[in-house]
């Protein structure tokens, strides 16, 4: 427990995959990551919410492509040579889904400093706190650990 913190700290076990979207750094548990791809051909799904309005072919599986930018109201960026697709498997409402996440840049797999995150403050961030599992640190950067199941769950029918 971090004695200087007023907020509750929470242990985050295991290794995390860190990636950038815009100027923000994100981290997700490495063990749910299946693979990381260069951006393949993307099929637009008319009428679908902007967060998940595309499909890609991941080795014969048709996977929805999601854009965390929408969930976290970040500026959209053009795809460049660093843009990657992170393919994860996650339990969404008790069913396992293969989901692709768009990232501007994938950094590395590491443990967050102290192996812990702090609860996101209810005020002071522009994001809905319930979408965030916590905020950790890696070196001099804050790293957002999004609650993937929760975010995805909001878009599942």
């Amino acid at each position: 427990m971090n004695a200087t913190s007023f907020r509750t700290a929470k242990a985050i076990e295991g290794r995390m995959l860190t990636f950038d979207i815009g100027s923000e750094a994100f981290a997700i548990r490495a063990d749910c990551v299946r693979e990381i791809l260069e951006v393949p051909h993307v099929t637009h799904v008319p009428g679908a919410p902007a967060f998940v309005n595309a499909l890609i072919n991941v080795r014969g599986t048709v996977a929805p492509l999601t854009d965390l930018r929408i969930a976290f109201s970040l500026d959209s960026a053009k795809h460049n040579e660093d843009t990657r697709v992170i393919v994860i498997e996650e339990l969404i409402h008790e069913t396992r889904e293969t989901i692709a996440i768009l990232a501007d840049k994938v950094n590395d797999v590491c443990e967050l400093d102290g192996g812990q995150v702090e609860q996101a403050p209810a005020i002071g961030t522009r994001w809905r706190p319930e979408l965030i599992e916590g905020i950790g640190r890696k070196g001099d950067r804050f790293v957002i650990v999004p609650d993937i199941a929760r975010i995805m769950g909001e878009y599942v029918s």
Partner: protein
């Protein structure tokens, strides 16, 4: 099929067994004296009990045991098979089915009632008492002298005395002596018989159970004495025969986990699949060899491999598809019971027959076909067939016929539900449709169109409401389900002679021939079975805008949807846009698209739950270049076109 979960396998097997028992019972109901059927039912119950107890379905095993015991009296000729008995065992069968489903709490009251009825049906109390297993685990005091001699036939029965001696040695036998006193002279010696006896000393710690364990299979026919050496109290004794079978605790199973879906596949089909995979592996290694050669590629060899792989992948696809195919016989079998029950409920005499049970259809189609077929059969029993009196008055046989058949022609399977009842009274249908405002009183309709009114939502021809009809699903739901399976319904009916409803269904849902079209920058697939024709969009309509969205095709007004607008594309429009007219039944709609790309065989991939709710698309497919294309949900487009023309009609009337 999961190859390693016997519990799941048992459940599949038990359901089949119960269906078989039901069929045999229904046959037995028609032919009460049939010994073979009595045996078949008994064997089914017996197997169910035995396997059920093996896999931890104790309640099922115990309930089935009681039924088996009662039925055994019939088998042994102590009781007669009667219609009442068949009825009771049929309801017992339903209980057994419920006991297989762990999500349903066992209905003990119902079970007790069934067992009581069963006892009554087999005349007297047939309670079987099982002898309690002897429980003699007392330790033999001090050292014990064991003397034994196997029955002469023991070796012929596959017993090996050396194995028994080996086990006794493991128990700590010492001073083992062979007793050759009964060895016959050589000329009388039968080599397969055992003539040698043995004596030995066993340590005090050896229990009777241990010794019984060693001799468990030969105990009945052998000579065996045990002498306790100190204190030398009792005379030699022969250990009583006791069954050592103890009830095995059930294997761990997780009741809450939903049973994984499994398909039973004949072994030869798997072999075929394995052969193809084997060939594919060889082709792959040839390809790797060519790739590893470096320098100039041997083009001929490469082409040969490419052709092989092309052939193999198409064969693999076909073989794999076939794995999903199931015979319709299992589905048809379920309806016998339905007709049996309906006949009793309505008091009508009904003969039920089936044909083409070996016709194979995709598993998914079979599963989704069950409900609509139940409805069609109910309709036939309830509305189609007349009472015996009415039939006889009309010069027909008193017993009505219901026949279901399956045939395969080309890429589709036709399932027919036919009855020889009163047929459909066109005037009644018209009157009803007029009363409901479905048609204008003076509308001129072709005969087929009158019949199709039956499939209109909410339409019901029942002059009287019986407890069989109108249970929620109407013919419109039947039609919707069949169309959801990419099938169509056709119907013929002759008044006074009967009705025949034909369900035309695709062989498989997994592969569908599609037309690929471009709208804006996106490529979409339209199931070819729904495509009726393709036209060029007249220049007068190309501008889009607010002009009417109906197209005059040879005098028929067809509504059309501008897919560019529907998909909100800002990609430049093609100069000559096309219209693809799609239809199902008598509803048609034109889809305005940019370009027709061509046809392709596509494997349907379901959409994730993110997109399943959109409704516009029925799935996705992966094209030859690896990109994903969405498959248009034609049924949904037709429905929205209908809504559009309805609002348009209202708008024009205003």
């Amino acid at each position: 099929m999961s190859g390693s979960d016997p519990v799941a396998a048992f459940r599949v097997e038990a359901f089949e067994l119960l269906d078989q028992i039901e069929n045999d019972l229904l046959d037995l109901g028609q032919d009460l004296g049939n010994r073979a059927l009595v045996d078949a039912v008994f064997r089914g119950l017996h197997t169910l009990k035995g396997s059920g107890s093996m896999f931890g379905f104790d309640a099922l095993a115990s309930f089935t045991h009681h039924c088996e015991t009662a039925f055994d009296r019939v088998r042994k000729g102590q009781a007669r098979a009667t219609a009442a008995l068949v009825g009771v065992i049929l309801s017992a069968r339903d209980q057994m089915r419920a006991l297989l489903d762990e999500t349903i709490a066992p209905d003990e009251a119902a079970q007790a009632a069934i067992l009581a009825a069963l006892q009554a049906a087999v005349a007297d109390d047939g309670a079987a008492t099982t002898a309690p297993a002897a429980d003699a685990a007392n330790v033999i005091e001090d050292a014990t002298r064991l003397t034994f001699r196997l029955a002469p036939s023991a070796m012929a029965n596959g017993n090996n005395p050396l194995n028994l001696l080996g086990e006794l040695r493991e128990l700590g036998a010492t001073k083992v002596c062979a007793d050759l006193s009964r060895l016959p002279p050589l000329d009388q010696l039968v080599p397969g018989e055992c003539h040698i006896g043995w004596t030995m000393l066993l340590p005090a710690s050896v229990t009777r159970d241990d010794i019984e364990d060693v001799f468990m299979f030969v105990m009945d026919d052998m000579e065996l004495t045990l002498e306790e050496l100190e204190p030398a109290s009792a005379a030699s004794e022969i250990i009583a025969v006791a069954e050592t079978g103890t009830a095995a605790p059930s294997q761990a199973r997780t009741p809450s986990a939903p049973a994984a879906e499994s398909v039973r596949v004949p072994a030869e089909r798997l072999d075929e699949l394995m052969n193809r995979v084997g060939e594919l592996v060889i082709a792959q290694s040839r390809l790797a060899q060519i790739a590893a050669q470096g320098g100039t590629i041997n083009e001929i060899a490469l082409r040969a491999v490419s052709e092989d792989i092309e052939r193999l992948s198409s064969e693999l696809r076909d073989t794999t598809m076939v794995l999903r195919m199931m015979q319709v016989g299992g589905l048809f079998g379920r309806f016998r019971r339905l007709v049996h029950d309906l006949a009793q409920e309505t008091g009508k005499s009904i003969e039920f027959s089936t044909e083409g049970e070996t016709t194979e259809v995709d598993k998914t189609v079979i599963e989704r076909l069950a409900d609509p077929m139940v409805h069609l059969i109910r309709n036939s029993c309830d509305h189609g067939l007349e009472t015996a009196e009415q039939r006889i008055a009309n010069g027909k046989a008193g017993t009505g016929q219901i026949m279901i058949t399956a045939t395969q022609t080309g890429g589709e399977v036709i399932i027919t539900v036919a009855d020889d009842g009163r047929g459909i009274n066109r005037d009644a249908v018209r009157a009803k449709a007029e009363a409901q405002g479905l048609i204008a009183p003076d509308a001129v309709l072709a005969d087929q169109d009158v019949l199709q009114l039956i499939f209109h939502p909410g339409f019901s021809t029942a002059a009287q409401v019986t407890n069989l009809s109108g249970r929620g699903v109407g013919m419109d739901v039947v039609k919707k389900t069949i169309e959801g399976l990419r099938g169509t319904i056709r119907m013929t009916s002759v008044e006074g002679q009967g009705t025949r409803i034909m369900l035309h269904l695709p062989l498989t849902l997994a592969i569908v021939e599609c037309m690929l079209v471009r709208v804006g920058s996106g490529c979409y697939a339209i199931p070819l079975s729904a495509v009726e024709e393709c036209l060029e969009l007249p220049a007068s309509e190309a501008a889009g805008g607010k002009s009417r969205s109906f197209l005059d095709v040879r005098g028929e007004l067809i509504p059309f949807l501008r897919m560019r607008e529907a998909f909100a594309t800002d990609w430049p429009a093609e100069l000559h846009q096309k219209i693809v007219i799609v239809g199902a039944g008598d509803t048609r709609v034109g889809l305005v698209i940019d370009q027709i790309i061509g046809n392709a065989q596509t494997v349907i991939k379901p959409l994730s739950r993110f997109h399943a709710g959109l409704g516009t698309f029925s799935g996705a497919t992966i094209l030859g270049d690896g990109t994903v294309a969405l498959i248009l949900d034609v049924g949904n487009l037709l429905a929205s076109a209908q809504r559009q023309s309805a609002t348009r009609a209202v708008g024009e009337a205003a």
